[in-house]
């Protein structure tokens, strides 16, 4: 029996074309992604994730600013989606390590992110993620991470 997660990872793809993970279904199948409220916008191979603003993602109510953990979790989710999309496979990629750089405080508005796979190895995948709000050229945070493709 195929679970919603497996079905999302395998996707359906165009007839004759490569199967691509169904990222919206993947987000829907992961409880924490639903909790975080992450959405995805796929235009061909260009994937942008969206974390709509919600008061429960605030870390500093004085400023107010988004919680660094929520921004980090959002970027990690973006990386996982990109790896699932590019590397494929029936299991979720696992994070090995991540390094987050906080560049500006995350204001109480929607946040966007995009991931670039810098190296798609057989087992290890290197990913870079940028997160921004109003202006793509003014990122609020960046993430570098290594992910493991197969279950190990």
């Amino acid at each position: 029996m195929t679970t919603p997660l497996e079905a999302a990872l395998l996707g359906n793809g165009a007839p004759g074309g490569r199967r691509k993970a169904d990222l919206a279904a993947l987000l829907e199948a992961i409880p924490y992604c639903r909790f975080l409220g992450v959405k995805v916008d796929c235009k061909g191979s260009e994937i942008t994730t969206i974390m709509p603003f919600a008061p429960h993602r605030i870390g500093n109510p004085v400023l107010p600013a988004l919680h660094g953990g929520a921004i980090g979790a959002f970027m990690e989710t973006t990386a996982i989606l990109q790896v699932a999309f590019d590397a494929g496979g029936p299991v979720l990629p696992k994070p090995v390590n991540i390094a987050i750089e906080y560049l500006r405080s995350g204001r109480a508005v929607d946040t966007y992110a995009r991931a670039v796979i810098t190296k798609l190895g057989r087992r290890i995948i290197n990913v870079h993620v940028d997160a921004w709000q109003d202006d793509h050229d003014k990122p609020i945070a960046a993430l570098r991470g290594h992910f493991m493709a197969a279950a190990d």
């Binding site: 409880p31 993602r57 953990g69 980090g72 987050i100 405080s105």
Partner: protein, 146 residues
């Protein structure tokens, strides 16, 4: 050294996102803080295994590091994470709470350096480790720590 006014398992009422994931401060004193997040289905990152999402670990470690910095400061000031690096050593066991112990081992006028460990009861068997740096941003009416 200052003491943050906390008792065992004090919820982080002033941090909405920490509260949303059920995080609580177990202890915070002299630059060492312990925070915890209970296991919750809504925090699961892999529905096949029930393992908590790495992002929860990120939030827990980030917050524990921040509390550790706060507990080392003489006066009140705001802090902001500059960078956070996490090694995921092994998947967290489903059904059990997560703990993070963070230690601010160096505090200057403008920067705090912190390291932390996430575990599930046995600190010698961590699920993740981290290193972080924070910027001390003074706020109006409050001096930066001397």
């Amino acid at each position: 050294m200052s003491d943050i006014e906390v008792n065992a398992g004090t919820p982080l009422a002033h941090v909405p996102h920490a509260q949303a994931i059920g995080m609580a401060v177990v202890s915070a004193r002299d630059g060492v803080a312990v925070c915890t997040v209970p296991y919750d289905e809504k925090l699961v990152g892999n529905p096949m295994t029930g393992v908590i999402h790495g992002g929860v670990m990120t939030t827990l470690l980030d917050n524990a590091c921040g509390v550790a910095v706060g507990s080392k400061m003489q006066s009140m000031a705001m802090i902001a994470t500059l960078d956070l690096r996490i090694d995921y050593l092994k998947p967290a066991e489903p059904g059990r709470p997560l703990f993070a112990r963070a230690e601010c081992y160096k505090l200057t006028r403008s920067i705090a350096f912190v390291r932390g460990t996430a575990h599930q009861g046995d600190e010698g068997d961590p699920v993740a480790t981290c290193a972080a740096a924070f910027m001390i941003t003074g706020i109006a009416g409050f001096a930066r720590p001397a």
